[in-house]
Subunit: 258 residues, 2 copies
């Protein structure tokens, strides 16, 4: 499969996996998904549920780095779920695809409806989420696909984290990537569900405010919140990736150093 007017085939982790993505419309995966996937510890060997998986970038990036992990790619949009299925069907992804499944489902469903949709209780060891985090009045986009991926709904983190808590195993973890401004809503969504939160800020350069945060937390943990050393993305006059940002975005290092 090659690029067409409708889709592109993009290479990640220096070619260790590929994604079939909408060419212009829709959400295209980038550094956010790679950094989120790097929140999994290097020795992670369980089942990851990728909430809002899109074409599968973050979930496949976990599989690419953690050879014993399996992934469930959960995507609500039929078009994006189709891209995820096309991604798994790529011959280049044959090895990884054996450890991955696509589930077309809305992660905000609750109770029996969620279970019936294919998201049973305690079925994942690690839930990762890259939720649509731009508010409705922020950078609106006419394309419906992109809108679905980028427009944040009221109470999004609350509903996504509620499902993550139900789907996570008793010692399971959650990790998400979001804008710093969402931190109050995220901490409130974690409360009573996940503990031992670790916040890792992403700064475009060492002198600028964070543009993203990765938050990781564990079910049943009573550890206090930690603020980890930040990830600086670029440095120098040419604004190149820092060594650490390059290693993390290419699946050669874990974000939290574990």
């Amino acid at each position: 499969m090659t690029d067409t007017r409708d889709h592109t085939v993009d290479l990640f982790h220096r070619g260790r996996f590929h994604l079939v993505q909408p060419a212009a419309r829709g959400h295209r995966a980038g550094i956010d998904a790679m950094v989120l996937a790097a929140a999994a510890p290097a020795d992670f060997a369980g089942r990851v549920a990728d909430f809002g998986a899109g074409a599968g970038a973050a979930g496949l990036a976990v599989l690419s780095r953690c050879p014993r992990a399996t992934a469930l790619l959960v995507e609500r949009s039929p078009e994006m779920a189709d891209f995820a299925r096309k991604t798994l069907a790529l011959p280049q992804n044959a090895a990884l695809a054996k450890r991955a499944n696509v589930l077309e489902a809305d992660v905000t469903l609750t109770g029996q409806k969620r279970i019936d949709a294919g998201l049973p209780d305690r079925s994942a060891d690690f839930v990762i989420m890259n939720p649509p985090f731009n508010t409705a009045h922020h950078r609106p986009s006419p394309e419906s696909l992109r809108k679905q991926a980028h427009v944040m709904e009221e109470g999004l983190f609350e509903s996504w984290l509620r499902s993550a808590s139900a789907v996570a195993a008793p010692t399971g973890s959650v990790a998400l990537i979001a804008r710093p401004r969402s931190l109050p809503e995220i901490l409130s969504g974690l409360e009573g569900r996940f503990g031992g939160a670790e916040i890792l800020p992403l700064h475009p350069s060492s002198d600028l405010a964070a543009i993203r945060i990765v938050v990781r937390a564990k079910r049943g943990s009573h550890a206090g919140l930690r603020l980890c050393p930040p990830l600086i993305l670029h440095e120098g006059p040419a604004n190149r990736f820092t060594q650490r940002a390059d290693a993390i975005s290419n699946g050669r290092a874990s974000l939290f150093g574990d």
Copy 2:
């Protein structure tokens, strides 16, 4: 006044002001108070209320850097308030002392009781607080003075921020220094009272988790939360202060660069 068995006279901001502090018992001011004071913008020219002032370290550090500011040092403990009064009486502090007053009062008082205690509504342009942030089961200390300064009570940030919101002018600000684990309680205490929160983490070195956060926020602001570039305290094999940490702790730079 010189050091005795009961107190010491300590030099801050490279000698620009001094503190009379309990020699062994009680809370002794250090880097936390200096960093908190650095949250005031360089051109700050209003009235600062220092909640839980102790011997006056943070409040006087604001006055030392901001020549047009005035300070109200609010301290509940009669013994520590006495140290603050002795501090203002030092000949070395004569110039600064003209712009400072000590108020022996409990900042957790509410409504008319707070007003009667000397903390009227809208009376401060900037409230700074270095609250007792070690939980009761954490590093308990037999000395009652130290206990008062270090033992955190349930809902401390809620009650301190409630008073800060009442005491702050309509466009006033608040700044506090705390442990990262208190962030959820701090954000919840700011909600509906202060907006535009800026979080600045303090890391002992670039590869270690933050040990403190400074949070600054503004009444009436609708700006989203920002996560600022961190302050790294030490570097190098000798673990010396970084240039920025040295400048900030000695009153030669503001923490948020404004």
